[in-house]
């Protein structure tokens, strides 16, 4: 794996276009490209861990440990009404493509509507806030892969500026560049849709993620699985069973590193499981089990490239460092501390992880820093293996219901 410094990776905007030809990823992943022979689809997309689209003026709010990429969205069926958008956060903890309305400047996508023509709008609760905006349809291209007629969420549209109270009851809106921290989120997690069957049923069990919005105001509606904001990968013609994230190892903090997102598991010569171990998850929660200091945290661990640190346990747990005085969401040990934990799949697979926790104040002291190994914070009772877990690893995420050489998804492998 070749590490490319920040100066060499300032071309995200071009990555989508470059990826249209096979072997596109030579800058970051030359060793594993090549496809499965003649006619195979280019399935490698460059990703960069950098300070992201909020780093410069006017926000001057650099992201840390965010894996960014670009996607191209077109009006369905068109090859000319298109826009390539950079600064899209790669998130294995969610499913579906969401783009800020403010970033969708040069293409107008068709609105998804109910049978009576009224617009469908979504409220999507993340762990740290909600996104609200219309569901629109796009042909999405990334590397050589295309998801045709993909329902996506457009966040913060001025056409639907009033967020229903039932939606903000889930948390604070993340509806612009400042609050979202990215131009969009590419959810490539183990779930095939963002909601699932719960949203297909009317009545009190419906969680209230999809709304129909006549002029009189928005009301919760049911939404079929195929009309939900789906994981774009499942709509690819091939390479549609999962994704691989490859990032170089990182010591301490740096301006940035680059890596690859490879689509498909065992579908081409460059995406086989190799000697990776498959860890299946509880399909109802998307979690596996983590053991730490002989304590078992059942169904409480998960891999999430969209979390910017390893968030686990708390300072009240024996052996854990204190949090930072000025940032209670991060740990601040005096020096770097070594830890190990064991992840256990529902399939009985088990493996030990060695990782470090550094002083977050030190790691993030410089605003040019975009990547920091050792960044960690409290998360009582839970192991959220965020982006630092991915450093120096090849991490496979298999999508629910899809078959792979390692068995059916959902699972993680590394």
């Amino acid at each position: 794996m070749i590490r490319v410094r920040l100066q060499n990776v300032l071309y995200w905007g071009l990555a989508g276009a470059l990826a249209a030809t096979a072997g596109c990823s030579g800058s970051s992943n030359g060793g594993s490209t090549g496809g499965g022979g003649g006619g195979s689809t280019a399935n490698v997309q460059a990703i960069s861990v950098t300070t992201g689209p909020t780093a410069g003026p006017p926000l001057n709010s650099p992201y840390i440990n965010g894996a960014f990429t670009s996607v191209t969205v077109c009006v369905p069926g068109s090859t000319t009404s298109c826009q390539t958008i950079s600064g899209i956060l790669v998130d294995t903890g969610s499913s579906g493509l969401r783009i800020l309305s403010s970033a969708l400047t040069s293409v107008s996508l068709p609105q998804q509507t109910a049978a009576n023509g009224d617009a469908i709008v979504e409220c999507l609760p993340f762990v740290d806030g909600i996104t609200w905006g219309p569901v629109q349809t796009a042909d999405m291209t990334i590397a050589g892969e295309k998801a045709k007629s993909l329902p996506i969420q457009v966040i913060g549209s001025s056409n639907f500026s009033t967020i229903p109270k039932a939606c903000t009851n889930f948390g604070a809106p993340e509806d612009d560049l400042s609050t979202l921290g990215a131009n969009g989120i590419l959810g490539v997690g183990p779930a095939a849709q963002d909601c699932g069957t719960a949203c297909t049923v009317s009545g009190p069990s419906n969680p209230g993620l999809y709304y129909v919005c006549p002029a009189a105001g928005c009301e919760v509606t049911t939404q079929s699985l195929s009309n939900q904001v789906v994981n774009p990968i499942v709509l690819f013609a091939a390479d549609n069973n999962g994704v691989i994230i490859e990032l170089p190892s990182v010591t301490g903090s740096e301006a940035g590193v680059s890596g690859s997102m490879i689509f498909g598991i065992g579908t081409q010569a460059n995406n086989g499981l190799g000697n990776a171990t498959v860890y299946t998850m509880d399909p109802s929660t998307g979690n596996f089990t983590t053991v730490f200091n002989n304590v078992t945290y059942s169904d409480a661990g998960f891999l999430d490239s969209g979390s910017n640190a390893i968030y686990f346990l708390d300072s009240n747990t024996q052996g854990m460092p204190p949090t930072c005085a000025d940032a209670t969401f991060w740990y601040c040990p005096t020096g770097t501390q070594n830890f190990s934990a064991t992840n256990q799949g529902a399939n009985g697979a088990s493996g030990t992880i060695q990782f470090v926790v550094g002083n977050a104040d030190t790691l993030t002291a410089n605003e040019t820093i975009g990547v920091a190994n050792g960044l960690a914070g409290p998360n009582p009772g839970t192991f959220d293996w965020g982006l630092p877990f991915f450093f120096g690893r090849t991490v496979y995420t298999a999508i629910e219901g899809q078959s792979t050489p390692g068995g059916a998804g959902p699972y993680w492998a590394y």
Partner: protein, 151 residues
């Protein structure tokens, strides 16, 4: 309504309607909230607090900890979606959303919520389709109850 003894201290009671109190609120003043989250309720108590456990209609397991003086000093939840946090956090909700938004920027990225204010603590973990959370008012914890005891 057959109470049964569990582990010597806990008595479980099945009730026909769920009650939902807000953090910091008075448990006797929340009968109007009963219809808000439809589902099953069980109540148990020990010497330090009364625990109301509600399974909401969307599959979220909510627990409310009520002090001997009748105040809700802590709430927890776990399930595929968030519960109605405005309902659950009550007068702390606006404080929560302001702190949540500020923390997203301070954190320089996304991650679980960990708000530690002098009079209000809230932690939210998880990912799409699987969330858990815990909120409490430190000053209202009954004697002998630590934050770690709230699960």
């Amino acid at each position: 309504m057959n109470p049964r003894i569990m582990r010597g201290l806990l008595a479980f009671l099945l009730l026909p309607l769920p009650a939902l109190a807000s953090l910091g609120g008075d448990v006797t003043s929340v009968q109007s909230d009963q219809a808000k989250m439809q589902g099953s309720l069980r109540t148990s108590s020990n010497n330090s607090y009364t625990l109301h456990e509600i399974q909401t209609s969307t599959g979220v397991a909510v627990k409310e900890y009520v002090s001997p003086s009748g105040k809700v000093f802590a709430v927890t939840w776990q399930g595929p979606f968030h519960p109605d946090l405005r309902q659950l956090l009550g007068t702390y909700f606006d404080q929560f959303t302001q702190a949540e938004q500020a923390q997203r920027t301070q954190r320089r990225g996304h991650g679980p919520v960990s708000i530690q204010q002098a009079g209000f603590v809230v932690q939210i973990a998880g990912h799409m389709r699987s969330f858990s959370g815990k909120a409490y008012v430190p000053q209202m914890l009954p004697a002998g109850i630590r934050a770690e005891d709230i699960r």
